[in-house]
Symmetry: none
Subunit: 171 residues, 2 copies
């Protein structure tokens, strides 16, 4: 992951707010951050100097939550973006966000997703209305994709690859 941010500063040496929010989002996605103080230090390492008060406001505006790590700790999380926008672009984003892997068995395809994302991804696949896909069934993190008659593995891989070049698809 590469962080890109402008170095534009005003006379008060403040980084642009949106840039800071982006950096914060990246930190929260990548690391398990337990407190604003910890985040403050991480930002300081990146030469982003703000106070705890600003951070508190930033987190609220990002709608960041705090959840258990399963043991004794807590860490910040970004909210699930289950937006209701109904555009192809949005569906592709949903797929990209949840996708982990794709495999085949017989005439079925099995897509693994992040936990809880299967529904969102399957919904997106349905709404894309692809000829190659007859239907999908979603569990929690697995989607069964029923391929249309005569559709080969490479067809569906090509189809997905064309729409979302970033996906790590099977050969």
């Amino acid at each position: 992951m590469l962080y890109i941010y402008t170095l534009c500063v005003n006379k008060y040496n403040m980084l642009d707010r949106n840039t800071r929010l982006t950096i914060i989002k990246n930190f929260i996605t990548e690391k398990k951050i337990a407190s604003q103080e910890q985040l403050l230090l991480l930002l300081k390492e990146r030469n982003v100097h703000v106070t705890q008060a600003t951070l508190s406001r930033d987190l609220k505006s990002l709608k960041v939550g705090k959840v258990s790590d399963g043991n004794r700790g807590y860490y910040y999380t970004l909210p699930d973006q289950k937006m209701n926008k109904e555009t192809t672009e949005h569906f592709l984003e949903d797929i990209t966000r949840g996708y982990i892997s794709l495999a085949f068995a017989g005439n079925l395809a099995v897509m693994h997703t992040l936990p809880g994302h299967a529904n969102t991804v399957a919904f997106a696949l349905d709404r894309l209305d692809l000829d190659e896909i007859t239907g999908t069934i979603a569990g929690d993190d697995t989607i069964l994709i029923i391929l249309s008659d005569g559709v080969e593995r490479k067809d569906i891989v090509n189809c997905l690859e064309q729409m979302i070049p970033d996906l790590e698809l099977p050969k």
Copy 2:
């Protein structure tokens, strides 16, 4: 929803801790609770008298998180019970606890479980990361298991038998 709790109190008039935790879980499930103070009042209405300190400890032990409501507010949430312990031993226990039977159809396997256990068992099967299994889809008491290419029925039976000798598997 009916709340059931014992009225057993000791000489310090304290309700049983587990009972209180159950009541708290119910509240958190049903309502959007934004602070410990609010929860304190709700409990008081049910004649459960504790201090904020105890509540803080209760929430931590329940691994309760706090997430955005999408607007300006935050509310408590219980963690997904799926992501708890992540050890092979634990997964095998989950399978043993829920397993009822296994059957085959084509290149698919169908596992029956105790009602409500399918998700837990399927999650465990997934996380064991077996070569023989391409994916699973869980309903309430049934799991569809998609076998990997070239895997025979006896392969999957052997595999499960080796890991969990106690299971009653098909001959």
